[in-house]
């Protein structure tokens, strides 16, 4: 490993100020930081620091995403690999371009966006659409606001929203029949033109005039049509619980979200508990609840605000699903929640300040 360190050391001057490739310094720094921990030292008190850094923080999300990524490979085949690669490359290009223009570091946050994005797309979507979507998401959802930490909306969802509105027909017709058996579609590369079907997803069937409900077990294991990462509730719960244990996703968002959704669903469909459970497992609810709504940057920063935000998303999801023609509502609900997050924060910060009023 000494060899790698030496190699990086040797290449460093080329990318420093005055070097021939100094414009690409952010890229070099990103690779450098990916390989080795930095030697940067604290200048001021406190002199020692906690081992947690943003890289680790984000890699926890990636680890939690592994189960549903695996599930997407199992159900929809090797096509996921180019989708993930395209997403990383296209989004990464925008990220690098902005880092170079701004002379800032490349942020680790993109590693999460780049993986999450293909998981919330129909698995049969043409690759160029994946690229367009992720570029739009990173550009408009993140970089325009000033990069990671300053974005209002979840970049992956902005990209998906753009795709859905732009290419609704393709988005609605690029499902792939999930594979079954021991190996699923693991041995296959699904061809978009051959395997893509414009059949209805479970939620659409349920919203039809004569509702048809996919069996609960299929929803639980993920053997249904849907976005690549959202079908398998089992994998999502596994990853989500992991994320809650790591403390990266805040339970203050997830639990009110799930409770709010449940209460609203009961109100709208009546007390059929099996149906309520069905709605929990169907569609993108769990993926959104565990991985999207909990994005700390675009959710409120106050603890009380997170409760309200979570509940708002849960209720909005149920309302959109059951009371509008858009039978799947997680994306719009979270984007709406993102929009309200700063206002919710304002209220809770004011309350917080009020609570501190008597402290002198």
């Amino acid at each position: 490993m000494k060899f790698l360190a030496n190699l990086l050391d040797k290449a460093r001057p080329t990318f420093q100020k005055g070097g021939s490739l100094s414009a690409l310094k952010p890229l070099f720094d990103a690779i450098d930081a990916f390989m080795f921990n930095p030697l940067t030292q604290s200048k001021l008190a406190p002199h020692a620091r906690d081992p947690l850094d943003v890289k680790r923080y984000m890699s926890m999300v990636i680890i939690a995403l592994i189960p549903c990524t695996m599930a997407s490979f199992y159900f929809f085949g090797w096509r996921m690999l180019p989708m993930i690669m395209v997403s990383y490359m296209a989004g990464g290009a925008v990220e690098v371009a902005f880092a170079v223009i701004r002379k800032e570091e490349i942020n680790e946050g993109f590693l999460v966006t780049g993986l999450l994005f293909p998981l919330i797309l129909p698995p049969g979507l043409p690759l160029w659409m994946v690229a367009v979507g992720v570029m739009f998401g990173v550009l408009v959802g993140k970089e325009i606001f000033g990069g990671t930490g300053r974005n209002l909306f979840n970049p992956a969802l902005v990209g998906r929203c753009f795709l859905l509105l732009s290419y609704g027909g393709e988005m609605g017709g690029a499902w792939i029949e999930p594979g079954g058996g021991w190996f699923g579609r693991l041995g296959q590369y699904a061809e978009t033109s051959v395997d893509a079907v414009s059949q209805a997803t479970p939620l659409y069937d349920a919203a039809a005039e004569i509702p048809k409900f996919a069996p609960l077990s299929d929803l639980f294991y993920g053997n249904v049509l849907g976005c690549a990462g959202e079908t398998s509730a089992l994998a999502l719960i596994l990853g989500g619980v992991l994320l809650l244990i790591f403390g990266v996703a805040s339970w203050r968002t997830v639990i009110p979200l799930l409770v709010g959704f449940g209460v609203m669903t009961v109100v709208l469909v009546g007390g059929d508990m099996q149906l309520v459970v069905w709605h929990y497992l169907a569609g993108g609810l769990l993926l959104g609840a565990f991985f999207m709504a909990t994005d700390p940057v675009s959710s409120p920063m106050t603890n009380g605000g997170k409760f309200v935000y979570g509940a708002l998303i849960g209720i909005a999801t149920a309302l959109i699903r059951l009371k509008t023609p858009l039978f799947e509502g997680m994306m719009f609900a979270i984007l709406t929640g993102n929009m309200f997050a700063p206002i919710i924060d304002e209220v809770f910060i004011a309350m917080h300040v009020r609570g501190l009023r008597n402290e002198k």
Partner: protein, 475 residues
């Protein structure tokens, strides 16, 4: 106010309870300023010969707190920048304590003024600080309450237990002297867990002296609950906003006793020498001005790539080349390694050996253990991702991340509204920040700026009126 937030940074290299007395050095380098004191008014000339206990300089801004010579010798002013160097030392050893000394001193509040003056002259007053500002308290002032703390929670400064052990009598006598400086105000004695041996000893000795107005406060042993401002708030001593609360550490009470009972100047300090690269971390009793390089020589496992910190890891200051000796406020020296080898894929490892506030490492599954910390930032500086850990850990109950956001866009009024002034300067927010933002430094600077540029916060009715005016303007 209930204690909230807080976190024990757990490291390898805590000092043992041993207190070693160092032999007199060849020369003393006494720094002319320390954290809160600046001895700008010199009382000796270059080349003067000084005697032990002579006033070398005073701080005119802090009620003329004197800087006393620990030993006799020749004073050199120009030898070292910002220091008084004393050479040709003549250090008379402390005579053995008189075994006949009574355990208790009678209560006599008639001489409060003289006693206070004496304390000031003998260098014991500098331990008394105003709990709100952390500056030396006014010797002519009247506090509304006094806090005496035997606890030091920050890693690694001299432990209260090490200072008090073997000096219980001195401590009790000092408390009684303290009582006679006051009229009726309560003294809050902060003890660690009351079941500890030390605490029980103190209680035993105090018991039966009903005239000592004392309330014992068992303290939750989590950093930074020993912080003087937080303690005062926790005890409910700040209600009006303009009370003066005195804070005296255990070492200060013992110094009171030394000055008033034995009539001797207080010029030596018990400091800790600890940290991951110290061979045998321990406590040292050293005179002020003891050269730092002499103290650490031979006591470290490595001589290069180390950082010596004056004070604890969280709030101490790095000792740079322009400080050569122990200053009058020093409570410990912490030595940390400055790493030179980069760890490969460090962020991918399971992390059994790194203790973190977060739950992102497998070490969460282990019981609490000390970690071999260094000065590394352990990550890159990134924009705030609003993870909220600083809010969880903040003992003052403020929101460092929200304040950071406002300071980033230079909205000082908003930072003031979010009560930046409550910051207790414990440094925990900086410690746990995954984005490696220097929140501690930012908050401290913001506090100063707010006090200078904005003054005290507007009263609430005015604030509302101002808001209404604004709304009208908009409409």
């Amino acid at each position: 106010m209930k204690p909230r937030g807080g976190y024990n940074v757990n490291l390898i290299g805590g000092p043992s309870g041993v207190v070693e007395k160092l032999s007199p050095p060849e020369k003393l380098c006494i720094p002319l300023h320390s954290r809160h004191l600046k001895f700008s008014e010199l009382r000796v000339a270059d080349g003067d010969s000084v005697s032990s206990g002579q006033t070398l300089a005073v701080d005119p801004e802090a009620f003329s707190v004197p800087l006393l010579a620990p030993c006799g010798g020749t004073a050199g002013l120009s030898r070292l920048d910002g220091h008084i160097v004393i050479e040709n030392l003549n250090c008379p050893p402390d005579p053995a304590p008189d075994p006949e000394l009574p355990t208790h001193v009678p209560y006599d509040s008639g001489q409060a003024a003289e006693k206070r003056r004496k304390l000031l002259e003998l260098g014991a007053w500098q331990f008394v600080s105003n709990a709100r500002t952390h500056q030396v308290a006014d010797p002519d002032g009247t506090p509304s309450a006094v806090i005496v703390s035997t606890v030091h929670l920050e890693p690694f400064v001299a432990r209260g237990s090490a200072i008090c052990t073997g000096s219980i009598n001195e401590l009790v006598r000092g408390l009684e002297h303290l009582q006679s400086l006051l009229e009726y105000q309560a003294i809050h004695l902060v003890l660690p867990n009351v079941k500890l041996e030390l605490a029980q000893d103190i209680q035993k000795t105090i018991r039966g002296h009903a005239w000592l107005k004392l309330s014992e406060v068992p303290l939750q042993m989590r950093y930074p609950f020993d912080n003087q401002t937080l303690l005062a708030r926790h005890l409910g001593l700040f209600t009006e906003g303009d009370e003066t609360v005195w804070f005296i550490p255990a070492a200060g009470v013992i110094a009171f006793d030394r000055a008033l009972t034995l009539n001797r100047p207080c010029t030596s300090r018990i400091i800790s020498l600890a940290g991951p690269v110290v061979k045998d971390p321990l406590h040292l009793e050293v005179p002020v001005g003891y050269p730092i390089d002499k103290i650490i020589a031979g006591r470290l496992t490595q001589d290069d790539n180390v950082r010596v910190v004056n004070g604890g890891i969280l709030t101490g200051t790095q000792i740079t080349e322009d400080q050569a000796g122990i200053d009058t406020e020093c409570s410990g020296l912490t030595v940390l390694e400055t790493p030179t080898v980069r760890e490969m894929f460090g962020w991918l490892r399971l992390g059994c050996d790194r203790r973190s506030f977060s739950k992102c490492f497998t070490s969460t599954l282990k019981k609490a253990f000390g970690e071999n910390l260094s000065t590394s930032l352990r990550g890159e500086r990134r924009p705030c991702v609003a993870c909220g850990q600083c809010v969880t850990v903040c003992p003052a109950g403020i929101m460092p991340n929200a304040i950071h956001k406002y300071l980033f866009s230079d909205e000082l009024e908003q930072a003031q509204r979010l009560r930046t002034d409550l910051c207790a300067e414990c440094g925990l927010c900086s410690y746990i920040c995954p984005s490696k933002i220097d929140l501690y430094d930012e908050l401290v600077r913001a506090k100063v700026r707010i006090a200078e540029e904005l003054g005290p916060p507007a009263e609430e009715p005015e604030e509302q009126a101002a808001q209404e005016n604004q709304e009208e303007d908009v409409a």
